[in-house]
C-alpha cells in the first residue's frame, strides 16, 4: 500500500516575514538527508511538508533519517486516498485494519485544511469512529490513552489516513541561525554540545587538536567517526585537524606546570578563533560544564574566555555528567566517545593544576611564548576534511 510522509514543522511556524527563508533551509536539509532512502518528490503544504516517495524509496530508512532533522516537530507515515468520506473509511480498513484488530482501545482525530470538504472535523471524527466501532465491535473508545489514534487529514490535493505521529527532532533548521565553530575533542561532552547548538539551527564546523605521537591515529579516526555521527543532525560538515604537539611541548618546556592546561586551552581558543573567522563563524562552541575539571571552574572559564573575542557558547554549562551521557546515548555518540584511545597524553596534564587562575599571572606566564607564531603555524598546518556523512553499508 502506498505510503507518504507528512512532516509537521516546529517553531518555524511562529516566524513572521522571514518564515520562507527558514522553510527553504529545512527543505534543503530534508532533500539532502533523505537521499539515502531513495527518490521522492517534496511538496509544501500549510505548516506541513509532504514527501511523496517513488517506488525505490525505503520508508524505514527515510523515517530514521527524518527523525534527526531539526525543524520538524512530528512525523506522520500515512496512506493517501481520495477526498471522500467513503474512501477515508475504506483506507482506514485497508491501511490500519491489522492494528485495529489487535488494539483494544482507539480514538479518532480529524484535520480539515480544505474547508470545501463537506464534513467538518468533529463530524469526520464522529462518523469515522462510528464506522470503526461497527466494523470492529471489540474496540472501545478511550480518548485519554488509546492504543491507536486513527487520524484522517483532509488536505488540498488528497486525504490521508494514519495511526498516529512520531516525535520529530524539534528545534530549528540547521543553517537558519548562522554558523559556529565547535571544538571537538573526542570525549563525551563536545559532540553533545555540537548537537545542542545545531538543534537551534546553527550550522557547524569542527576543530580537533591532535598530538602525535602522544595521541594515536586511532584517536584521530575516532574524532572523524564522531563527526560522521554528528552529520546526521548537522548535515555535512568540515573538520579541521590541527597538529598540536609542538605548542604543547613548548608550553611544557617554558611555562609553569600548574598553568599548562589553562595556557593550552587559551591557545586552542585563539587557533579556533582564527579558523572560525576564516569560515565566517559567529561563535565558538565547547562542551565545558561548570566545575567538571580544573580547567572548567568559573575562574578558568573566565581566563579561557579572555583568549578570544568571539562569544563562546557552552550549551552543557549547567548539566551534570549523567545528563550529558544521556544525550550522548540518545544521539549515538556515546559508544564512540568512550573508546579508550586517548590515554597516553598524561605528559601534558599537570599533577596539581591551578584551580583559580588569575588572568594577569596567566598572561605573564604566556609572555615567554611567541603566541602569534604558534597560532600561525597551527593554522598553516591544519588539515581540513569534508565529512559528508556516515558510511553507507
Amino acid at each position: 500500500m502506498k505510503e507518504i510522509l507528512l512532516l509537521k514543522l516546529g517553531e518555524i511556524v511562529l516566524k513572521g516575514l522571514n518564515r520562507r527563508t527558514f522553510e527553504e533551509k529545512l527543505i534543503k536539509n530534508i532533500r539532502a538527508a533523505l537521499q539515502c532512502a531513495g527518490n521522492f518528490t517534496l511538496q509544501k503544504g500549510q505548516s506541513t511538508l509532504l514527501v511523496d516517495p517513488e517506488p525505490d524509496f525505503n520508508m524505514k530508512i527515510g523515517v530514521e533519517a527524518v527523525k534527526k532533522i531539526f525543524g520538524i516537530a512530528s512525523i506522520v507515515v500515512a496512506a493517501p486516498c481520495e477526498k471522500t468520506f467513503a474512501s477515508v473509511c475504506e483506507t482506514t480498513i485497508d491501511y490500519l485494519g491489522k492494528r485495529l484488530e489487535t488494539a483494544k482501545t482507539f480514538k479518532c482525530e480529524a484535520k480539515r485544511s480544505d474547508k470545501r470538504f463537506a464534513m467538518n472535523s468533529p463530524e469526520i471524527c464522529r462518523e469515522l469512529g462510528a464506522f470503526i466501532l461497527q466494523r470492529y465491535p471489540h474496540l472501545k473508545v478511550d480518548v485519554h490513552h488509546p492504543d491507536i489514534v486513527v487520524t484522517a487529514e483532509i488536505r488540498d490535493y488528497a486525504a490521508y489516513v494514519h495511526g498516529g505521529r512520531i516525535k520529530g527532532a524539534g528545534g530549528m533548521p540547521v543553517g537558519s541561525n548562522g554558523k559556529a565553530t565547535m571544538l571537538l575533542s573526542g570525549g563525551i561532552d563536545s559532540p553533545v554540545a555540537g548537537y545542542m547548538v545545531a538543534k537551534r539551527g546553527v550550522s557547524l564546523e569542527a576543530v580537533h587538536f591532535f598530538s602525535p605521537p602522544y595521541t594515536s591515529e586511532r584517536a584521530k579516526e575516532k574524532v572523524i567517526e564522531l563527526a560522521k555521527i554528528l552529520t546526521q543532525y548537522t548535515g555535512p560538515l568540515k573538520l579541521h585537524i590541527v597538529p598540536f604537539t609542538e605548542p604543547q611541548l613548548m608550553i611544557y618546556e617554558k611555562c609553569p606546570e600548574d598553568l599548562l592546561t589553562i595556557i593550552m586551552r587559551r591557545i586552542m581558543m585563539k587557533v579556533s578563533q582564527r579558523i572560525a573567522e576564516a569560515n565566517k563563524s559567529a561563535a565558538l562552541v565547547t562542551g565545558e560544564s561548570i566545575g567538571q575539571v580544573a580547567s572548567q571552574t568559573l575562574e578558568s572559564l573566565g581566563v579561557t574566555d579572555c583568549a578570544t573575542s568571539l562569544p563562546v557558547i557552552r550549551p552543557l554549562i549547567g548539566m551534570d555528567k549523567e545528563e550529558i551521557i544521556e544525550v550522548a546515548r540518545k544521539i549515538g555518540t556515546f559508544e564512540t566517545s568512550v573508546l579508550p584511545y586517548e590515554d597516553c597524553c598524561t605528559v601534558f596534564v599537570p599533577k596539581h593544576p591551578k584551580i583559580k587562575p588569575v588572568l594577569r599571572f596567566v598572561e605573564e606566564a604566556e609572555d615567554v611564548l611567541d603566541i602569534e607564531a604558534i597560532i600561525e603555524k597551527c593554522v598553516c598546518e591544519t588539515e581540513s576534511i569534508w565529512i559528508e556523512g556516515i558510511d553507507k553499508i
Partner: protein, 376 residues
C-alpha cells in the same frame, strides 16, 4: 619503505602460502566432508597439509587437529582435557606469563570449580620451576606452559615438566615457538600443543592442536565432528596455506633459530651501544627483543616510531589497548617505570641488518626526544 618489527603479533603471509590459498579457494571449494568427488579432492588437500604439519612436528598425522587458530587450540586443549579428566582431579598449573588465551581460559575454569596455580616468572623471563614443583599435587590433571613467551621471547623449560608431574597431562602453547625453535612433542614431552597459522607466514583463521595418541579430551563445541573432537566446516584453503609453511619449517628450524637469534642479539647489542641505559627484559629469546626505556611511555614511543614507518608493539598486541602494565613484565618483577616504557620488537627471517640499523637509530632519536618531556 616500512620496517615491520611486529612479527610476534602477526606475520606477512608468504607468496607461496597466498598462492596456495587462492588456488585452493578457486579450485577446491567443495565441502571436504561431502561424499562426492569435489569433497574428496578437498579432503585430499587437507590430508596433504596434515601430513606436512605432522612431518614438521615429527608426529603422526592422526595427532594433528585443525582449528581456527591459537586461541581455539588453547581453549580446546585446556577445557577439553580437564573435563575429560575430572574424575581424577580438578587442579591445573599454569604460569603468570601465558597468553590470555590460556590465562582467561583458566580463569573461566576457576569460576567453574577448578583450582589453578599460577606460577611466577624469574627476572630472566623463565618460569620459576622450583615454585612449579612445589605446586604439583596428586590431583593435578594438567600443566599448561608456553614454549616461547610472546612478549619477552624467552624460551621456557617445557621439556622438564613431564618428569616433574608424570601423572598430569602437559599442554604447551607453541604459537610463538613454532618455526623458530626445533619443536617436537616427543622432545618437549608434551601431550598437547597449540599452533597458529598467521604467526608462521600462513594466513589468519587457521591453527592446529596436536593431541598425542591415547590422550582423551572432550569437545568444547558441538556439531558435525568434522575433525573428531572439533566441529565446523573445514577451512580448506587456510589449512593448505598452513601446510605450505609447515613444509618450509620442516627441517629448517635449527637454521632459522640461529639466524633469528643472531639478528636479535645484534639488535640488542646495537641498541645498548646507542642507548646504554636501555633495559632488555628477559633472556634466552630467539626472535623477540623486549626493551624498556625509563621516562618514556611505550605507547608514545610506538606511535613516534610509527610516524617513521617502523612498526613495533607494546606488550602483547591483545593488551595494548589498555594502558595497564603488561602482565608478563609484572610477573617478572620488572620495575614499573621500565615496564611502562617497554616496547616489543619481533623479527622475522625477512628482517635485514639494514632495517635493524635504521630502527636502532630511529629508536635512539625518538627516545632522546621523548625523554626530554617526561612527566614531571
Amino acid at each position: 619503505m616500512e620496517i615491520y618489527l611486529d612479527n610476534a603479533a602477526t606475520t606477512k603471509p608468504s607468496n607461496e602460502a597466498l598462492e596456495e590459498y587462492v588456488r585452493v579457494s578457486k579450485m577446491y571449494y567443495g565441502n571436504p566432508s561431502a561424499l562426492h568427488k569435489m569433497g574428496l579432492e578437498a579432503e585430499k588437500i587437507i590430508e596433504k597439509a596434515r601430513g606436512q604439519t605432522a612431518a614438521s612436528l615429527q608426529c603422526d598425522a592422526k595427532e594433528v587437529i585443525f582449528t581456527s587458530g591459537g586461541t581455539e587450540s588453547d581453549n580446546l586443549a585446556i577445557i577439553g582435557a580437564v573435563r575429560a579428566a575430572k574424575h581424577r582431579g580438578k587442579h591445573i598449573i599454569t604460569s603468570k606469563i601465558e597468553h590470555h588465551a590460556v590465562l582467561h581460559t583458566c580463569a573461566y575454569l576457576e569460576q567453574n570449580g577448578y583450582s589453578v596455580s599460577y606460577i611466577d616468572a624469574l627476572p630472566n623471563g623463565e618460569v620459576d620451576l622450583d615454585q612449579l614443583k612445589q605446586a604439583v599435587r596428586p590431583d593435578t590433571v594438567l600443566i599448561s606452559l608456553m614454549a616461547l613467551n610472546n612478549e619477552t621471547g624467552t624460551v621456557q623449560p617445557v621439556s622438564e615438566l613431564k618428569s616433574i608431574a608424570p601423572h598430569a597431562l602437559i599442554h604447551s602453547d607453541c604459537v610463538q615457538a613454532y618455526g623458530k625453535i626445533p619443536l617436537s612433542p616427543a622432545d618437549l614431552q608434551v601431550d598437547m600443543m597449540s599452533l597458529s597459522g598467521h604467526k608462521i607466514h600462513a594466513v589468519k583463521g587457521v591453527g592446529v592442536l596436536y593431541v598425542r595418541k591415547g590422550v582423551h579430551i572432550v569437545p568444547i563445541s558441538y556439531g558435525g565432528d568434522q575433525e573428531g573432537i572439533r566441529s565446523g566446516t573445514m577451512n580448506t584453503a587456510g589449512i593448505a596455506a598452513f601446510g605450505v609453511q609447515a613444509h618450509k619449517i620442516c627441517g629448517s628450524e635449527e637454521e632459522s633459530m640461529r639466524t633469528l637469534k643472531a639478528r636479535r642479539d645484534y639488535f640488542a647489542q646495537r641498541l645498548l651501544e646507542e642507548i646504554p641505559d636501555a633495559v632488555i627484559n628477559g633472556q634466552k629469546a630467539v626472535h623477540i627483543l623486549n626493551v624498556g626505556f625509563e621516562n618514556v611511555r611505550g605507547e608514545v614511543l610506538l606511535h613516534a616510531l610509527e610516524n617513521a614507518g617502523i612498526y613495533v608493539s607494546t606488550g602483547s598486541a591483545c593488551t595494548s589497548k589498555s594502558t595497564k602494565i603488561s602482565h608478563v613484565l609484572q610477573a617478572m618483577h620488572v620495575k614499573p617505570s621500565v615496564a611502562q616504557g617497554s616496547i616489543r620488537i619481533s623479527l622475522s627471517l625477512d628482517t635485514t641488518t639494514e632495517q635493524i640499523d635504521r630502527a636502532v637509530l630511529e629508536i635512539k632519536k625518538q627516545t632522546d626526544f621523548l625523554k626530554k618531556f617526561k612527566r614531571r
